[in-house]
Each structure stands twice: as C-alpha cells, then as structure tokens.
C-alpha cells in the first residue's frame, strides 16, 4: 500500500460477492432506467413528430402569422400567398399544402390522423417514402403502413376520411407516432370535404440561394405570414414535445434519482458495516480516514458506472423489443441523455456515500482485533 501500487479495495469489496453487487447495481440501474426510458420515449416522440417535416423537399415553410408549428396547430394562409411568394427572387418553386386533424376509419377500427392535401403531380408535401402502391387521385388516400396495419387495410381497401369513403391507393413509411398517423389525399379531394385556404406553403430555393436569406426576403414580401427555414420549423416542432414534457420529466428524474440514492445508501452502508473489520485493518496499518473515504467513494463511483451501463443496455434492449411489439412507441436513447443521467447518478452515488464515510471517519482501528460473535 505504500510502494506506489495500491490495492483497489473499493472495487474488490463491491465485486467480492457478485450477487450482492448485482442487486445493488441492479437496484440503481432500474431506478436510472425509469428516467432513461421516459427520456427515450420523449426523444422518440420528437423524432416521430418531426419525421414529415424533416424530410420535406422545401427549404422554407410559410405559415399563418403567429403559427410556427404543424403538430396540434391550425394554419390558414391568405389566398394570394403562393403567387406572391413565387415572385420573390431566389424562389425555384412553391407548393401549398392543406392540413387538418381527422379520422381514418374502417368498419373495425379508427385512427386519429393528420390529413395532408397535396398536389400528387409534383409530389411536394406528399408522403416521404411510398413503400407500396401509388400516389392518390380523387377519392383515394395514401396511408402510413403502420396505421394501415392497425386498421387492418391493404392497398385497394376501403376507409373513410373526413367521413367520406376513400380507397387506399398507396402506403407510406415512418409517419405514425404515439399520438396519430398520417394520411395523404389530393388537394381537390381535401378542399371538397374541408373547404378552407391552404395551410402551409412549401418553398424551394434556387441552387446557390441561402435558405435564411430567402426566408428573410419572403418575410418582407409576405408580411401577414410567418416564414421559417425548414430547420427552424423542425426545431420549433421538436420544442412542442420538449416543452410539453419538461415538467413531467423533471418529476420523474427527481423520483428516479431519489430511489437510486436510497439504493446506493443502503448498499454502501451495509457493505461498509460488513467490512468494518477490514477497514479497521487498513486503519491499523496506517490508512488515513481520507484513504478510507476514497475506498467508499470508489465503490459509489463503480456502482453508478455499472448501473448507468446496465440501465443504458436495458433501455436499448427495451427500445428494440418495444419497436417490435408496439412500433407506434419509439424509445430513442441519446448520448446527451445518458451523459446527463450519468452526472446525476454520480452525484446521487456520492451523496449516498456520505453516511458510510461518516461512519468510517469515526472508526477505531482496534475493531480489527476484536472477535466477531
């Protein structure tokens, strides 16, 4: 212990009894899993909610004044917006889309759906990826394949959209979320059932045109609207989920970490009492209270590290399993989320180590020479 090499007592104490180590690390891991999974569900929801917008071909999106999002939003553009936007320098193309919440139903099921009306001739604003069938004509609809699966319909099947019968012409992918699915119909079809002005205007930039500069020019030309680059629009959309989930995430994180803290205190304190004689030996051999504290701290750090690794692995596994069992829920474990949780878990573990450290600070080295009962 004095030759420069030290015995890693903290780690050895922790791993000496593998079952006990598994229980302590497992207890902390499950508590951390609670936080990681919830964070993963929200991260997955962000990915799902922004899937359509992220894959739009547009560089700039124009919406009703004061409307910066699509999810849970209503937007209606002034009638001449498309023509005025098309005249702005740097605009390669414009494509209005119509958007409404609705229901896609069969005789046996129903799905809350965002219905998009678009021009199938250009395909702009339509399904991101058509995996089967073709684009819709009047009286037809393209459904997301997952939504279609849940409704039990295939291409050629009959569904009602806006209460009117439609035939499924095609299937798209990646546009069903925990809250809803998406359906695509032709503009004429949409406006016949839901007469209203266009909801958003997609704008493509000419090659070499900076989207931000184009957005600024469009904002000047279209004063009664809100103009955003696609990136800004996607960021705005993602923030709906992050802002709505912030309060519930704080509650869950606090409670999960509280349970983790309780497990760390329990396991480290019990282990410290169990190893009291050995600590007495270390003290009798000249080990300072600081050295004893470092041993317990090492145990806390190893417990937190092991638990974080286990929780991350479990969350990834759970994400894969849930992806197969209930694909409308997506659990996305992100590196920043793991890092944030790691810091919090380390803090909880170090807080949990304080009680055993306090106990060791008062340790009498003579305990090493007492007989156990």
């Amino acid at each position: 212990m004095t030759s420069g090499r030290t015995v890693p007592l903290g780690r050895r104490n922790l791993t000496e009894d593998t079952r006990r180590a598994a229980l302590s690390i497992g207890g902390v891991a499950v508590a951390l899993l609670l936080v990681l999974v919830l964070d993963g569900i929200f991260a997955g929801a962000i990915r799902q909610v922004t899937a359509y917008l992220r894959t739009l071909p547009a560089d700039v999106v124009v919406s009703q004044q004061g409307v910066r999002t699509m999810h849970m939003s209503a937007s209606a553009l002034p009638p001449t917006t498309a023509e005025r936007a098309a005249a702005v320098a740097g605009v390669a193309w414009v494509a209005p889309i119509w958007y409404a919440s609705g229901v896609v139903a069969t005789a046996t099921g129903r799905q809350v759906s965002y219905v998009i009306g678009y021009d199938p001739a250009t395909g702009r604003g339509g399904p991101t990826r058509l995996v089967a069938g073709r684009t819709p004509t009047d009286g037809e609809v393209v459904l997301d394949e997952l939504g279609a699966d849940q409704l039990g319909v295939r291409i050629g099947g009959r569904v009602t959209v806006f209460g009117a019968p439609h035939t499924v012409a095609g299937l798209s992918a990646g546009q069903t979320s925990i809250t809803n699915t998406m359906a695509f119909v032709a503009v004429a079809d949409f406006t016949r059932h839901v007469p209203r002005p266009a909801s958003y205007l997609l704008v493509g930039a000419r090659p070499g045109t900076d989207p931000a500069a184009l957005a600024a020019r469009l904002a000047t030309a279209l004063p009664a609207t809100t103009v955003q680059t696609r990136t800004e629009f996607v960021d705005s959309e993602a923030r709906i989920v992050t802002d709505m989930s912030a309060a519930i995430m704080q509650i869950m994180a606090l409670l999960g970490l509280l349970v983790a803290l309780a497990v760390v205190v329990l396991s480290l304190y019990a282990l410290t009492l169990f190893k009291l004689r050995e600590y007495g030996v270390v003290a009798a051999l000249g080990g300072s209270p600081w050295r004893l504290a470092r041993i317990v701290t090492a145990q806390a750090v190893w417990t937190a590290a092991g638990a974080l690794a286990a929780a991350t692995g479990l969350a990834l596994l759970l994400g894969a399993v849930i992806g197969r069992v209930g694909p409308q829920i997506s659990i996305v474990v992100t590196a920043p989320s793991v890092a944030r949780l790691g810091v919090a878990a380390l803090a909880a573990s170090l807080a949990g180590a304080q009680l055993p450290i306090y106990r060791l600070a008062r340790l009498d080295p003579a305990v090493a020479f007492r007989r156990q009962s």
């Binding site: 004061g66 409307v67 329990l266």
Partner: protein
C-alpha cells in the same frame, strides 16, 4: 479456528421444533433476526417504500389524468353531442360542421337547447416555451364555455379569454395577463374552477373569435344538446344524418385515446418501479443473510431444515414488503403535497384501489425478492457456524 461458543452464550431456538417447521419457534427466530438491526430494517423499509411510493404516485397520476381528460364533457351539462361524421371525440379529431347544423338540431322535436362550440388546438409561444392549448369557442350566454368561473368573468369581447386552472398554474397566469394566440393577443379575464385539463390547457373564447383565430368562419366543431329525452332525440338526429354520441361514449373515446397515448409509457414506469422495489427487497434480505450466515449456519447445525430456512428468508422479505407498503403509503401523501405546490397541473388522485394495487405489488416484490436469499439459505453449510469470521 474457533469453536462454537455462541451456542452457550446465545441459545437458539428449539432445533427440533424448527426443523419440523414448528410455527411458534420459527416465527420468533425470524422476528428476532428481522429486528436485530432496526436501523437497517427502517432504511430497507424506507427504500422499498420509495419504490412503492412511485407505484402509488403513477397510479394516482393516472387517475388524475383520467379525471382531467374528460373534464370538459363532464362539466358542460349536455346530454348529447353532435359531431362530424366518423368523429368520436371532441377535440383530437378535428370535427368540423357547418354552422347551420345548430338550426337543424334545434328543429328536432324534444331538443331543449342546442349550442355550437368551435374548437381547435393551438401552440402558443409563451415565455420562450411552446404551450399547447385547446381553443374552445362558445356563444355568450350559451353552454359550452367555462363551466364555472372561480376568478374574473366570462369573455365578453373577441380579445378576451377564460382559462382553466391547470394552464393558469403551470404558466403563472392571472387575470389581466395576455396570451399570444395565432396572430392575436388575448387578455385573460377569467379562470374556471377545477379540475383543470391535462397537458393541454383550455382557453375559452367567444365562438366568433375562435372561428376567426382558426380561420374557419361559418363552421363549428360540435353541437351540445340538452334534452329530457336523450334516446328519442338521438334517434331523430341520427335519422337526420348526424353523428351523435352521448357522454358515456365520449368519455370512453377520450379515455381510450389517452390510454393509447399515455398508457404504455405509464405501464413501463410502473414496471420499472416494481422491479426497483424487488431488487431493493432482495438486496436488503440478501445482505442480511450474508452478514448473519454464521447465525443461520448455527440454526442449521442445530437441526433446522431447508423449509424452515426458506421460511426465514421469505419472512424477512415479507416483513420488508409490509413495512415498505406502509412507508410508501405515507410517503406518497408527502410527495403529493409537494407536487401540488411545485407542479399543480398534475393532480394525484389516490384511491383505495391504488393502495390495494401497491399492497399487492409489495407482496409480489417480497415473494420474488425472497427467492435469492432463500436459495442461499437452503444451500447453507451448517459448518459455516464453526468457521472463523
């Protein structure tokens, strides 16, 4: 090597009775071992209590969510609801009807009153955050607006709004504050009585104002119907080609939607909390077995059988489960009070069923968690008692 002096200084139970599973002796030994270190027992029970508190909290939050999800239809006083074809819920499905539907409904014999409501979601940009709300537009003096106003008054102008208490609490809004809705600014003139809505706040405005904000004039979303003869009026409205649902159907539809969205994550959370509880009970029980293996070895050396040893392990686990359930039940009231101050938009409604569920979870935790220490005790070598520490 040491001998076994402990047998002379600390007599154990009658081994013959213990080995036969004699109930009195076994219980006494178990109790003594469980109570040997009260501080550790309390710490273990507290940790189990934390896990069970989480289970109770999730159950209470879910009950609160269910109450909040149906608050609007529960409070409107309508007997029937006329929606767009295929729609089954009020807000989530974008129900849109021609405003003339109200006259059609009023003309149906048996209808006491009919009131149109224009609704739609909107995302507000407030203090740097995105806030989801449901705009609810009703005609002044008619049902469909704020059910009861706790502070302020109903909206009398197009730029006035009444909000629900959850929205007010979550964003510290009061009378006179403003809301940026679509491209306009609404002034808060009233706050309804509770309970508030869940996650998505309710903003009550005049019907025309909602139509203008949502850019859908001459339409409405649904029509509330009051009648002394719901069945007869419903038949007549359906014959007129309208989609009609009653309050029970609406509640079912809203709860089904809420369960589909929030149910699975909640079940995952409950499962995680129960697993954490199992591991905590297992940790405490197993630690107790490992640390007192000499005493347990002594019992075996004195003739205690496997069944008695297993019973000791499970007894310890059950005691922890029981104490943890009690601790969790107390803790959840404390956390609920703190949440009511910190995050009042998430009411926790505790029901006897939730406590029953938590008690069952505590019992299940104890049974599962007792397996590992029980296996260890069953395999314990009696010679352990005579080995030096």
């Amino acid at each position: 090597m040491t001998t076994a002096p402990a047998t002379t200084t600390r007599p154990g139970p009658d081994p013959s009775r213990l080995s036969r599973g004699g109930r009195g002796s076994a219980v006494a030994v178990g109790r003594r071992l469980v109570l040997a270190e009260p501080r550790r027992l309390a710490a273990g029970a507290l940790a189990v209590g934390l896990a069970l508190m989480l289970v109770l909290l999730f159950q209470g939050l879910w009950t609160g969510v269910r109450a909040q999800v149906t608050v609007y239809e529960d409070k409107t006083g309508a007997d029937l609801f006329v929606l767009a074809p295929d729609a089954a819920s009020l807000f989530a499905e974008g129900s849109t009807l021609p405003l003339s539907t109200v006259d059609t409904v009023r003309a149906v014999p048996g209808t006491a009153w009919a009131a149109p409501v224009r609704s739609g979601f909107s995302i507000l940009d407030m203090h740097g955050k995105k806030v989801a709300v449901t705009l609810v537009g009703s005609q002044p003096g008619q049902p469909g607006g704020p059910w009861a106003i706790a502070q302020g008054h109903a909206a009398t102008a197009d730029d006035e709004a009444v909000i629900d208490p959850s929205l007010a609490a979550a964003h510290h809004l009061g009378i006179g504050d403003t809301l940026p809705v679509q491209s306009r600014t609404l002034r808060v003139v009233g706050i309804t009585t509770g309970p508030g809505s869940f996650m998505i706040g309710l903003v009550f405005v005049r019907h025309d104002a909602a139509g203008a904000l949502l850019a859908t004039p001459d339409t409405t979303s649904f029509v509330l119907v009051g009648t002394p003869d719901p069945a007869g009026v419903r038949t007549r409205l359906t014959s007129a080609g309208l989609q009609v649902v009653d309050k029970a159907q609406l509640r079912d539809a809203d709860l089904t939607l809420a369960t589909r969205i929030y149910g699975q994550p909640l079940r995952l959370m409950v499962a995680s909390a129960i697993t954490a509880g199992i591991l905590i009970v297992g940790l405490v029980t197993y630690t107790g077995v490992v640390e007192r293996r000499r005493q347990y070895g002594l019992l075996k050396a004195l003739g205690a059988g496997k069944a008695a040893m297993v019973r000791l392990a499970f007894g310890h686990a059950l005691a922890l489960g029981l104490l943890g359930t009690v601790a969790g039940s107390g803790l959840v009231y404390g956390v609920r009070a703190l949440l009511a101050l910190w995050r009042p938009q998430f009411p926790v409604i505790l029901t006897p069923a939730a406590f029953g569920y938590a008690a069952a979870a505590g019992l299940a935790m104890a049974v599962v968690a007792g397996l590992l220490p029980a296996a260890r005790l069953a395999r314990l070598d009696p010679a352990t008692a005579f080995r030096s520490a």
